[in-house]
Subunit: 158 residues, 2 copies
DNA sequence: TCAAATTCATTCGTATGCAAATGATATCAA
DNA sequence: TTGATATCATTTGCATACGAATGAATTTGA
């Protein structure tokens, strides 16, 4: 045989060593779920640095109430992607701080109506400009063009 | 004056009505943080549909231990982006289920070493192929080309 | 019409996720 | 060497997040 015979096995080993996609090789750090979780963590951290006295879900509730006006608790939850149990906790805490007020629906007695208080309205109007900064800072690692593409694809994914 | 005089004010109003970017208009649904949260929620839901008996953080801990072998609890946490308090809870639950085992570091008595048990190793090796499916399904709304672009930009953001 | 199905809200249990405080151990620097 | 720092782990408290169970009220459909 010729010198340094190379078998198919050898070639396969070579490829593996060269970091070919390998069935036995699972890279956690490259999985979309893992990176999505980290990106979300980073955003929450940026949010907290700008708005210390409100969480992103609390802000979302106030912003949506400001947008649509009085709604039921469950309806609000579906608007901001929170299940009933979660939205209840968020609204309870906003109520305890006087930012929203609750009332019973006159016709449908199952429903609990939520509305901004004057204080809640002042707060959200004051915070919205800061929220714009938070969005900017979150997207800062991307160019304007990249950010536009990213937002389009992220929306398709969500 | 000519008929139908148009003032600058009128034009500004027109633009606002035509949905120009308006300073007084904040669209929660278009903010990166809000969509990031929803995309993450969707991924967790897909994960749960495929792997019912493990959460994504628990899976991440097992996958990373499988990758790097025995490490300290804090080190593991930094590898999978979890703070000390969070990783402790995750490891406690994995230990309670017999998937990891803990031991003291012989030299540095502060450290708590974590390692897979045989059962934990079996579990993670069995689950990794399923995790690939989860990644696929999460990215399914995107074409292959879009997914590649998205992953690149998401990584820059995280 | 009225029983079945649905909707709204609440509660419970479990699991992240993080800030802050604490204690034990290790390292650094004067 | 030792006093100041830093690191590792734990604990507490608070805030999402969601499945499942429950009860009240409403809507639907046979």
């Amino acid at each position: 045989m010729g010198r340094t015979a190379v078998s198919a096995e050898d070639i396969k080993l070579k490829l593996v060593e060269a970091e070919e996609p390998d069935e036995n090789d699972y890279r956690l750090q490259e999985q979309v779920g893992f990176i999505l979780r980290k990106a979300h963590q980073r955003h929450v951290s940026i949010f907290a640095a700008h708005i210390a006295d409100l969480t992103p879900p609390q802000f979302a509730a106030l912003a949506k109430l400001h947008d649509v006006g009085e709604t039921s608790q469950n309806q609000l939850g579906s608007l901001i992607a929170m299940d009933a149990a979660t939205v209840k906790g968020v609204i309870d805490r906003l109520k305890a701080r006087g930012l929203v007020e609750l009332s019973k629906h006159e016709v449908d007695k199952r429903r609990l109506l939520v509305n901004l208080t004057a204080e809640g309205r002042d707060a959200i109007e004051r915070l919205i400009p800061i929220a714009r900064d938070i969005t900017q800072e979150t997207l800062a690692p991307l160019s304007a063009k990249e950010a536009a593409i990213f937002m389009r694809l992220l929306a398709k994914l969500a």
